[in-house]
Amino acid sequence: MNLMLPDSGLLFWMTIIFAIVFFLLAKFGFPVITGMVEKRTKRIDDAIGAAREAESKLMGLASQQEKMIEEARAEHDRILKEAAAERDRLIAAAQEQARAEAGKIMDETRERIRQEKEAALRDIRREVAVLSVSIAEKVVRKELSTDAGQQELVDRIFDELT
């Protein structure tokens, strides 16, 4: 028996069977597996890249958000400050107006009091004049009831005139 001599029958079958196996596996077997795995590898690489990109984008977003919050806070402060100033201004204006109004009312009142007072004084003066005239009339009437009194009066008036 020669182990080193290839047997023709086995050679024949091996050639045919190996060719069939090779054909089947090369057409339907290994390329499917390797192709799919390579696709998956590519998919995973892509996914990792996308994740990295998303992460950096997220970092950017976070800083942007921080900036926005900062801005909002500043705006808030500014608005509050403005509102306070406005309020102060309004109150001051109102006070001013109230003071002016009050002054005006006071002035008017004072004027009216003065006018009332003057009117009252005028009335009193007239009354006094009337009273004094009537008193004088009564006095004169009484003094002139006698001839001596009338003579004296005429004399005094003459004196006074001269």
Partner: protein, 356 residues
């Protein structure tokens, strides 16, 4: 506890040797255990698939014989020509050039070997192994067709196959072949899994394994031939220039083409080494294991004590050898694929250089 268990196991194995002794003795007292015949009978080929011996008779699965003799085509089962029977002038030669092969008597009285494409044990094992390989790989490929393999990875057996395929594809083929590995990957993967699966089937000691298929020169010859064709059919200009006008001193090339002769020899020695390496490794592994098993029966004839103790030793050696053969089954498939990939890569060096 563990130590005593170990001793009990050893004693039990030893008793197997005692058991073998009367069995061997009862077979036939005078007949020696012909170790060489057992080993060569196994690592060679046969027309029937011998499974075991039961109650003194052989249990053999008959396989079809397909022969074209001087009287035309004959198809018959191997059981018809067992034990020296002849069928239509065809019989198995006892000895001589055509020992254990189907022959017919020629007109001049010499034995003539007819054209013989019988389904022998190795061919049957080849068919079984190939069918199994195709089934395994195509069932894995089917998973990829049925699932969205881009989005999810397979588990279980398909996952194991994917791991092995990608290990061979990425570590061996991609690195060794270079940029256009896609073209060669199917052949190299087929070669790897064909060799690996048949190596493993060869280690399985019972039907349908146990045939010495990858340890047969015809099988390794075809595999090496495929690599030879893959290297030389698609080689680039650079490769042929290296063979017919290699770099070197001009006086070694011009009047007497010494370098060219060496290069052309190299074309053939590369696949030849692939063929011999795989054949010799697997054949030697089978022979070693069978030799160790035979030692049990040889020692059992000498005496119970030696038989028992030798059984223990040979069992331990046998376990060691089987583990080694598992390793060799993988390594030889790996080496064959790797060297094929390297040879192909060398034949495509020009393309590689151009791409760079």
């Amino acid at each position: 506890m563990c130590r005593s268990m170990r001793w009990i196991a050893l004693i039990l194995i030893g008793m197997l040797g005692f058991a073998a002794q009367p069995a061997a003795a009862s077979g036939s007292q005078e007949e020696k255990v012909d170790v060489a015949e057992v080993i060569f009978g196994h690592i060679g080929d046969s027309y029937g698939w011998h499974i075991t011996e039961w109650n003194g008779s052989h249990v053999v699965i008959p396989l079809p014989c397909i022969v074209r003799s001087s009287t035309g085509w004959h198809v018959f089962m191997s059981s018809k020509i067992e034990h020296g029977h002849a069928y239509k002038g065809l019989f198995i030669a006892e000895e001589g050039r055509y020992a254990d092969k189907i022959v017919e008597m020629g007109p001049d009285g010499n034995l003539v070997r007819p054209f013989d494409i019988s389904i022998t044990k190795n061919v049957a094992s080849l068919m079984f192994g190939s069918a199994l390989l195709v089934l395994l790989v195509l069932s894995c490929a089917r998973w990829y067709r049925k699932h969205d393999a881009v989005e999810k990875a397979p588990g279980g057996f398909t996952g194991l196959m994917e791991m092995m395929v990608m290990m061979v594809h990425d570590d061996l083929i991609k690195d060794a072949v270079g940029p256009d590995h896609r073209k060669y990957a199917p052949y190299l993967l087929t070669a790897f899994f064909f060799i690996f699966l048949n190596n493993l089937l060869g280690i399985v000691p019972f039907f349908p394994g146990g045939a010495n298929l990858t340890g047969n020169i015809a099988v390794t010859f075809v595999l090496a031939m495929c690599t030879f064709l893959a290297v030389n059919l698609f080689a680039d200009r650079h490769y042929w220039k290296e063979i017919f006008w290699p770099d070197g001193p001009i006086f070694l090339k011009c009047p007497i083409p010494i370098l060219q002769v060496i290069e052309i020899l190299g074309m053939f020695t590369k696949p030849f080494s692939l063929m011999i390496r795989l054949f010799a490794n697997i054949m030697a592994g089978h022979a070693m294991i069978l030799g160790l098993v035979s030692v049990i029966f040889v020692a059992a004839r000498i005496g119970p004590v030696i038989g028992g103790s030798m059984t223990v030793i040979t069992m331990l050696f046998g376990v060691f050898m089987d583990c080694l053969e598992l390793l060799v089954a993988y390594i030889q498939a790996y080496v064959f694929t790797m060297l094929s990939a390297v040879f192909i890569g060398l034949s495509r060096q020009g393309a590689h250089a151009e791409n760079q």
